[in-house]
């Protein structure tokens, strides 16, 4: 009864040792491009040339033109690549070296790929290489890119285990259009792969939230990060270079209100040593014994900090800078335990920051810090000046100090002088050897580093301890998520002056010249020509574009905050919110429950997509009639045999019970009319006859 598809579809099995199909090979090459591409930002470019060569070779092998490399050639190729690696990267254990080695192995393996087993191995290596790219690229876009690459890899695997698309319409042209069929096959594997990946997302999410986070098992080579942001010294022109960059330095979220812009002085480094042109840290500022962690008992210089007024708690997510120093609002009371605070109130990590880090601080923006009362060495350091140079400034500083009598009045006079005679510009004229003299008394144009540098020099020349502080000032508010984004363009330099009975006091000479810089940010404080030097965003004048940029930035921030910085602390907090009491049993239950639900959902989707075969009403009633007949004939000891058609069966029954033969003949005639001629009108008749039929004698 079943109409069989006549063509026998049994094919010889694709055993694990069977050769690789053309479509799989081409697809593998394409996927390799996507897997390798992100790595070429870091690894030497000649690896790409090796890839092209190997692909060409492998393709020739596939075409049968060339052979697989023999042992000698293989060794030669490996030696050449190793030599290339040593020549371009040197011999050391760094991340780039490791990744390059892996990539070269991955590429050369193509020349050894003979059967499906090798093919699968290659795909597995590709999984690992895909994972390594996230060491360097970890933003939200690279996550999407990773998903895309994973879909491609899964397609590669699925191609091995999926039936080729049937060519119902093109079977006669099968040989003419291999490309078209290849593409069709790819598409047939790509869509279910993506479908499966999407179904896997909920469970991954659960695992991500629940799986315990462990610390590193062993030290690994970290990615080399080019140094960005504040450098360890400052000379004229450094900061004005820095502010041309729009690169993100860090993001801050405050618990509570965001303080006013003019209070946001993010300290990075404090410079106490002046070399005539360059400001840098004094040796004792680098001494480790002065650094304190937050949980150390308060002693030494920390006793001298007096916190006044409200405290604010804030979380900073700092981008990788390649430098150890971080950002802090003076004066911090507590800070994350793995960070160190110097006696000049600058915060730093124990090693250069090569990956994004997050830390939380509590600071009192009003404070009194009298360190130095007993520390003559430090005060002397902050009076240090080169023996010669800038004679004019030294002379005038002495005169003015004699004139005003105390530090505060002197500062007031100097600020007044700045306010009336100076202009704030990104393009100051270049300065000669006596840079402070030239700036103060001749050019009178400059940027924050000129103002802070000349101010501190002037103070020291007048005999007042002072030092330069560099960092960032202000920040851009993201209205979507209510956080501040501080970019390199917010880089700033200011000063601290030691005043008797008040301790270290912050003075910002730039505010005397360009008060809007402090209140409203860099972009507002520059004139039109200078603004062009700042990197401009595309369409920054359009409201909508700006809003979208804010949204995008906010999304990235959420990504960093909830995905990249999700650690055991956040995990405990989150889980205890859901489970109240975090214990292994509850976590196991959560995993099982969530896993079960996602499995059931997947199953439901699958079943919805493939309902039972549709059976027409006619077929269904025919089946039920036939079943009734069989049941009744069972009474006379006749049962249908598999493969027996209804008529044959009924005639067989008729030979057993000749008395029923006429009625059976009628029934089978009607039945065949209904089923084969699709004549529904006989159904009633048939049912009636069947009802009267009885196998009893």
């Amino acid at each position: 009864m079943i109409l069989l598809n006549k063509s026998l579809k049994a094919e010889k099995v694709m055993a694990i040792s069977s050769p690789i199909l053309r479509s799989s090979l081409v697809w593998l090459f394409v996927v390799q491009i996507f897997i390798l591409a992100p790595h070429f930002f870091n690894v030497p470019a000649w690896i790409a040339v090796v890839w092209v060569g190997v692909v060409f070779w492998r393709w020739k092998v596939f075409q049968g033109a060339w052979n697989y490399p023999n042992k000698l050639r293989k060794t030669l190729v490996v030696l050449m690549c190793s030599a290339g690696l040593v020549a371009s990267l040197g011999v050391n254990v760094s991340l780039v070296n490791m990744v390059s080695l892996l990539l070269v192995a991955f590429i050369l393996k193509l020349l050894e790929m003979k059967n499906r087993k090798d093919f699968v191995l290659l795909v597995y290596i590709a999984f690992f290489i895909l994972a390594t790219q996230f060491i360097v690229f970890s933003n939200i876009l690279s996550a999407f890119y990773g998903f895309f690459c994973l879909a491609l890899l899964c397609t590669l695997l699925m191609q091995l285990y999926q039936s080729p698309v049937s060519y119902k319409n093109t079977s006669s042209h099968k040989n003419k259009l291999p490309h078209k069929n290849t593409l069709k096959n790819l598409w047939a594997s790509l869509t279910p792969s993506i479908f499966i990946l999407l179904q896997a997302i909920p469970f991954m999410f659960v695992l991500f939230v629940v799986m315990p986070r462990l610390g590193s098992f062993w030290a690994v080579p970290t990615p080399q990060h080019s140094k960005t942001g504040m450098s360890d010294s400052m000379s004229p022109g450094d900061i004005s270079e820095l502010i041309k960059s729009d690169e993100l330095a860090f993001r801050v979220t405050f618990n509570g209100d965001i303080p006013a812009n003019e209070k946001l002085y993010w300290r990075s480094l404090v410079f106490s040593h002046f070399g005539g042109r360059r400001w840098s840290q004094a040796p004792q500022q680098l001494a480790r014994q002065d650094f304190k962690t937050s949980n150390q008992p308060i002693s030494g210089w920390r006793e001298k900090i007096e916190y006044l007024g409200d405290k604010t708690t804030y979380n900073i997510i700092a981008e990788a800078s390649g430098q150890p120093w971080l950002y802090v609002l003076a004066a911090p009371e507590t800070w994350s335990n793995d960070l160190l605070l110097g006696s000049d109130l600058h915060l730093q990590a124990t090693a250069p920051v090569t990956q994004r880090i997050s830390y939380t601080l509590t600071s009192a923006l009003n404070y009194r810090f009298e360190e130095g009362v007993q520390n003559a060495i430090e005060l002397n350091q902050n009076l240090q000046l080169p023996i010669t140079g800038n004679p004019e400034t030294r002379r005038i500083a002495g005169e003015w100090f004699a004139e005003t009598g105390n530090a505060e009045k002197l500062i007031e006079k100097l600020f007044h002088y700045y306010h009336n005679n100076f202009s704030y510009t990104l393009r100051p004229p270049s300065l000669g050897d006596d840079s402070v003299d030239e700036f103060l008394w001749q050019s009178r144009q400059g940027f924050c580093e000129h103002f802070s540098s000349s101010f501190v020099f002037f103070m020291r020349a007048a005999g007042i301890p002072a030092r330069v502080v560099v960092g960032y000032q202000g920040g851009e508010l993201n209205t979507v998520e209510n956080y501040l984004a501080i970019r390199q363009r917010d880089a700033h330099a200011w000063a601290e002056v030691w005043i008797n009975h008040r301790g270290w006091v912050l003075y910002d000479p730039t505010s005397a010249v360009a008060p809007e810089r402090i209140r409203r940010g860099i972009a507002e404080s520059l004139n039109a020509t200078d603004q062009k030097l700042l990197s401009q965003h595309f369409g920054s004048s359009l409201q909508l574009v700006m809003l979208m940029r804010d949204q995008w930035d906010a999304l990235n921030f959420q990504w960093v905050r909830w995905v990249m910085n999700y650690d055991s602390t956040l995990q405990t907090a989150l889980l205890s919110k859901f489970l109240h009491d975090v214990n292994p049993l509850r976590i196991a239950l959560l995993v099982l429950g969530a896993g079960g639900i996602s499995v059931m959902l997947t199953f439901a989707v699958l079943f919805f997509c493939s309902r039972r075969k549709k059976i027409s009403a006619l077929e269904r009633s025919a089946q039920s009639v036939y079943q009734q007949l069989c049941k009744k004939l069972k009474g006379c000891g006749v049962a249908p045999v598999t493969g027996e058609c209804p008529r044959h069966f009924v005639l067989r029954a008729a030979t057993v019970r000749p008395d029923l033969a006429p009625l059976l003949n009628q029934i089978i005639d009607l039945y065949e009319q209904m089923v084969y001629a699709e004549n529904v009108s006989v159904l009633m008749d048939l049912k009636r006859k069947l009802a009267n039929f009885s196998s009893k004698k």
């Binding site: 049994a10 990956q355 910085n565």
Partner: protein
């Protein structure tokens, strides 16, 4: 076979008795990670180590994602097998020493594709097949016939590595399916004919009847040499030239006249002559001690004769 495997097979057999129709259901589908799946788990472990050592959540998420993909693929592997129905097709015949074909109809209870189902029987080369939505297919599993009589189809293992090869889903199919194995035809000089039959050489020369009788409509499987190509070229469609034997000769193949040292060889000779006569379209009958098959020609007749030879002296089951 290890004791565990033995135990497992016995257990699996109990769950799935031999029957005329086997539908793969949740009770009969087994799923475990295959070798490739274990290798994949190793890769995932490496990626997890990488993520932990670098304290990189994206890499960790990637490793969790891969595990989830493996988990979801078990569901797809299961769905790929679920509802596949195996029904034996009509019995086939083969000579001893030949490959006995077992035709099996495979269909699905659901409207979805079933990819790369591998049918493995003992140590025969496996058969791979794909089942497309709504299209039942027929596959042939070949088994080398060793003995005369009924050859039962042993248990088939149906395997699938769909979708990614991580997961091995398999099921055992015990079909009530058999093939008739007739004695291997062995040539001998003279057919075992009763006295007074057959002129010398007559039965050799006639490859087929040589008198042209007319045309028959073409039927699948008819020898191409019989196709009326001229008519086909004229566009009249495929027809067969019908030849009939000129003289209606009749022969009785009689067991009594078999001259062979043992029964098996005798049966082989009989089988040879049955085939010879059938191919030459000569009418023949068969006389065995237990059964007499009347004169006849055609494939049905030939099979009847071969069946009698195949089952000669064997306890007839069913």
């Amino acid at each position: 076979m290890s004791p565990f495997k033995k135990y497992f097979h016995r257990w699996a057999t109990k769950r799935l008795p031999r029957s005329m129709q086997v539908i793969l259901r949740h009770k009969t589908i087994y799923i475990l990670p295959g070798k490739q799946g274990l290798a994949f788990l190793l890769v995932v472990l490496l990626i997890w180590l990488l993520g932990t050592n670098y304290q990189n959540n994206l890499i960790l998420a990637f490793s969790f994602f891969l595990i989830s993909v493996m988990l979801v693929s078990t569901i797809h592997a299961f769905k790929n097998m679920l509802g596949v129905t195996f029904v034996p097709a009509p019995t086939q015949y083969a000579a001893v020493g030949d490959v006995a074909p077992f035709d099996i109809c495979i269909s699905s209870q659901y409207h979805n594709n079933h990819h790369t189902l591998l049918l493995v029987v003992d140590d025969c080369s496996p058969v791979q097949t794909n089942l497309e939505a709504g299209q039942p297919i027929q596959v042939t599993v070949g088994l080398t016939a060793q003995h005369r009589g009924w050859l039962r189809l042993p248990r088939i293992t149906v395997k699938s590595y769909f979708p990614f090869g991580f997961i091995r889903a398999w099921a055992y199919v015990e079909l009530e399916h058999r093939a008739l194995i007739y004695p291997c035809p062995i040539a001998c000089e003279k057919p075992p004919l009763g006295a007074g039959q057959g002129d010398e050489g007559n039965y050799y020369s006639r490859q087929r009847g040589d008198e042209f009788q007319g045309f028959q409509t073409y039927q699948l499987g008819a020898p191409l040499s019989q196709v009326a190509w001229k008519q086909y070229a004229r566009g009249a469609g495929m027809h067969l030239k019908d030849y009939r034997a000129q003289h209606s000769q009749q022969y009785w193949l009689d067991w009594q006249y078999i001259n062979a040292p043992d029964i098996e060889l005798g049966l082989s000779h009989m089988s040879y002559w049955v085939n010879q006569f059938a191919e030459s379209n000569i009418e023949f009958g068969l006389m065995l001690p237990n059964i007499v098959i009347n004169m006849g020609t055609g494939d049905t007749h030939r099979l009847q004769a071969l069946t009698a030879l195949a089952l000669f002296g064997l306890a007839v089951d069913k």
